[in-house]
Symmetry: C2
Subunit: 563 residues, 2 copies
């Protein structure tokens, strides 16, 4: 147990600003954000009680979920309603942990919990576990004080306590968590994370309750990918900011493309599992071509189909005199293409046992379709597939730069068409990957407010004795004062997957719904965007002024569709 170990990755350390740890240096904009005060939903500004809903079930296989969560299954969701208020003379000991990749707003969740404890309880203590769930297991933490939290308010990043990707899974690891909870006499723990981390949060809640430990667990929906959402949790935090940062860059590149008239910009965007970011950026900027992974999967498109789709539009644009354009591609595109998965599976098998001979005899071991696909791939990608392996000897799919691969394949196809006299334009592809730039930006007003309410609400849920809920803030299309606050039973979001012969609980990722309002709007406009140039440049995120409180298109359309 330690609060004084060296901050190996630069996590802030309370009270030691000059000890080699990063001290805070702020830009003017950061300083103005530090001073920015946050509105709270009106239900949180007056005394409130927690009202329970009806018993809950599960997203799928309720019987299995009931077996996996015997102490939690069926518990109702909770809503904060005006009332006489919770008892204030109760000091709580609360821990918080950041889990997984960064998302703008995480610091405001922590600020929200802290402010709740300050304002609605007496003599509470708050701990930040350092470096993610490993911090819980190793009992590495820092006590969070007003002074400590101050420089992180409304700021991006997770560097206040840092994050990590470890999971608390084995009985031994749960035991470590129990020890930490007991040692710190934790009344509650807030887990800020994505679908996996919230599943883990629920398992931890079940574990503590099963062992009759007093520690309660509340989750918070975090992921820039936007794939953790449901009716009660309309969006995950960070998505709004990240998409706006990417859209700013895309808009700038669009204007550049139009000004020079000679480049096709292929922009790969984050989102390995779901294409929400790509879709949202398309709605914000109106690119000529947008590939949505879920549509590729549903229509069982091949890589050749995708290449042809892009090439066809480039040819039509060339006929109109446009030899430039913008193409958005989700990071996880090739994971959505069944034939690619098949090829990679076969390659892993072959390369585990055989030598790749220069004559290409090894290729005969590929099935027909896979062999064709392999030959269709650009040489650089072929080499990457054969040479770059992970420590288990598997092909490193994640390392394939999909945007560069597509540029080469489109170029080859265009050359073919040029020979056939069906294309007479110029093609010059430029590749971009917008990733790290968006994960740690200063949170937009929306994310700043949303996170603060999520954290404040999480504090209230713990105070009222709740566990196994995910903090849920709703009615997000309305002004902040009218937002609803509560918690949703994590078990109600769960289904099971069979892994290694056992049922594992999972919160299913929310994929882009082809029948959902955002995709339908995109689909109704994309043909026009393809040939005419309807580019929109969203510009940089504004924190003050008339444009400062806009909400992303995906959320607005989904809220409208629900209404």
């Amino acid at each position: 147990m330690s609060t004084s170990s060296a901050a190996s990755n630069g996590c802030a350390t309370a009270g030691r600003p000059s000890s080699g740890c990063p001290s805070s240096v702020f830009s003017e904009v950061q300083t103005s954000r530090l001073r920015h005060s946050l509105p709270l939903p009106s239900v949180l500004r007056k005394p409130f009680n927690v009202s329970d809903g009806p018993p809950s079930s599960a997203a799928g296989n309720p019987d299995e979920i009931a077996k996996l969560f015997p102490n939690l299954f069926g518990q109702p969701s909770a809503t904060l309603v005006p009332g006489e208020g919770l008892k204030k003379d109760q000091g709580l000991r609360i821990g918080v942990v950041l889990s997984g990749g960064q998302a703008p707003g995480g610091h405001n969740v922590i600020s929200g919990i802290f402010d709740y404890l300050q304002e609605c309880t007496t003599g509470s203590t708050m701990y930040g576990f350092k470096g993610g769930p490993a911090g819980i297991m190793n009992c590495k933490y820092v006590e969070l004080t007003s002074e400590f939290i101050l420089p992180f308010r409304n700021q991006g990043g997770f560097h206040m306590i840092c994050s990590g990707r470890d999971k608390i899974e084995t009985p031994e690891q749960f035991k470590q968590a129990d020890e930490t909870a007991s040692k710190l006499e934790l009344d509650g723990l807030v887990v800020i994370g994505g679908d996996d981390s919230n599943t883990n949060a629920c398992l931890l809640a079940e574990n503590f309750r099963g062992k009759k430990l007093k520690t309660r667990v509340i989750g918070c929906p975090k992921t820039i990918d936007g794939d953790l959402k449901c009716k009660e949790v309309p969006t995950s935090f960070g998505f709004d900011t990240a998409c706006k940062i990417y859209a700013e860059m895309i808009g700038n590149v669009m204007i550049d493309a139009r000004s020079t008239g000679k480049y096709y910009h292929f922009v790969r965007l984050m989102g390995r599992a779901a294409s929400h970011i790509t879709l949202e950026c398309a709605l914000q900027t109106h690119p000529n071509i947008t590939i949505i992974g879920e549509e590729v999967a549903l229509k069982k498109l091949t890589l050749k189909n995708v290449t042809d789709y892009i090439t066809d539009i480039i040819c039509k644009r060339a006929e109109r005199g446009f030899n430039y354009g913008i193409i958005l591609i989700p990071e996880g595109l090739i994971d959505f293409i069944p034939e690619v998965q098949q090829l990679i599976g076969e390659l892993n098998e072959i390369l585990a046992h055989d030598v790749v001979d220069e004559g290409g005899q090894w290729k005969k071991k590929l099935r027909n379709q896979s062999q064709q696909l392999f030959d269709f791939l650009p040489q650089a990608i072929q080499e990457q597939l054969l040479l770059e392996r992970d420590p288990h000897g598997n092909v490193q799919v994640a390392k394939i730069e999909t945007e560069k691969m597509l540029i080469q394949m489109v170029d080859t196809e265009l050359e073919k068409r040029r020979q056939e006299h069906s294309y007479n334009g110029k093609f010059n592809g430029q590749s971009h990957f917008f990733g790290y730039e968006g994960r740690c930006g200063l949170p937009t007003n929306f994310d700043a407010n949303y996170c603060y309410a999520l954290g404040y609400g999480a504090g209230a849920l713990l105070h009222s004795g709740k566990t196994g809920l995910i903090s849920s803030v709703g009615n997000l299309g309305a002004p902040v004062e009218e937002w609803t606050v509560g918690g949703t039973a994590l078990t109600s979001l769960m289904d099971v997957e069979r892994r290694h012969g056992k049922f594992k609980p999972v919160i299913k990722k929310a994929m882009v719904e082809l029948e959902g309002a955002p995709f339908k709007k995109f689909a109704s406009l994309r043909d026009e965007w393809a040939l005419k140039n309807r580019y929109v440049s969203p510009g940089p995120v504004q924190f003050v002024g008339p444009t400062a409180n806009e909400i992303n298109h995906t959320l607005m359309l989904e809220l409208g569709a629900q209404a």
Copy 2:
């Protein structure tokens, strides 16, 4: 002569918004910028006269410059001063052209000229030449009207009339320009461009005057690279915006690096000739390592020196527990390294005559030092040098991704040190290139105001009969009202270079001065930034609020140093 040819690269075409040309779709921020009204220096808001200074000379070789510009050499610079005003009842016919790469604010220069003509003359006409200087030679233009210009006010990009990189050089081309000037009865032409384009503008002014054509020429200082500046022209437009956009991204990546604690981000920034962008971004964000090309050149550093400098800092950081960081690299780095230039020269020579044998016999033709350097390069770069040639058979230096090359070289060096037990950290390099994202962003308030004054002033200079001047707006550290406005003799910025046995006039690029205030400030802080983490995240450009009118560090420091 045509105003109706198809807009081949999407340039806006007056009066035909629905003809396949891009129609305007605006984001909320773009719309708010459209409505934003621009302040003018007070000297432009009241009647003014133009006051001439003393005769001018040249930046170097005045005798040669005098021979090259017999009609213009020695003319005084001009300053606008309060007075009875120029005659208003004179209609002017003015053309404008955008030359070279995009820079935020170009549209505001055009708006400024237009507004000057509207407000200070009667019955003037303005033409925008399409696609750069080629538009002058081919007489491709569009008449600029109030309605036409409106949607481009305060917007990024050059797509109003588009730009191009052609030069008016040969006698035949000058004749074409004469014809266009005569056909349109141009009183004046404003050339918006960088050092080359302004040299060209001066040659054009000399040409017109020599032939006794009435067309006068005024230049405007444009380049995001910031390498066109002198005492009278304190900065080129676009530099402020581009640097702030890059710094936003760098700041975000920094926070990400600190939050995850596991990546070294190598960020390559625009600026092939000079490293002003890299230096400015460093001053804004405080990265751990910054390479300034001019310093590398002056100290005659080798690639191994640069690699060692980076590696040494990474090792020292590892000792402190920091296995992450941010490294800024100027795009033109390897152009600054003499040994690399030597190697490339030798390679071009060898590859023009010999076959590259797999056994490596060809390598023996390299001089010793070049052979060592070649062997020191990562394999991928070696292959790139040998395989990728331009149409003249030369090595394509510009295609070398310096940031990736450095990652590999640093990784190799760290591995060596690990074997020697002098390094025990983890190294994971991530590469970024921030380029196109910054050239077409919405101009900052500074660039919007500066460009508007440059354009408005250029109108005034033409109106007063001036030619061969570059629009010059000064006192930029003061509020806009106090800015000075005038024109500087382009010949006074010139020197000559000997090319193909002839003297060619050139405006020398303004390089980073190691004795200048910006570099000195950087140099005084970089050791602290290297080991401690003083990261600053500038955040997105703000257009309203307390942070909206900040000016970049380079300009402020240079203004301060002059004072």
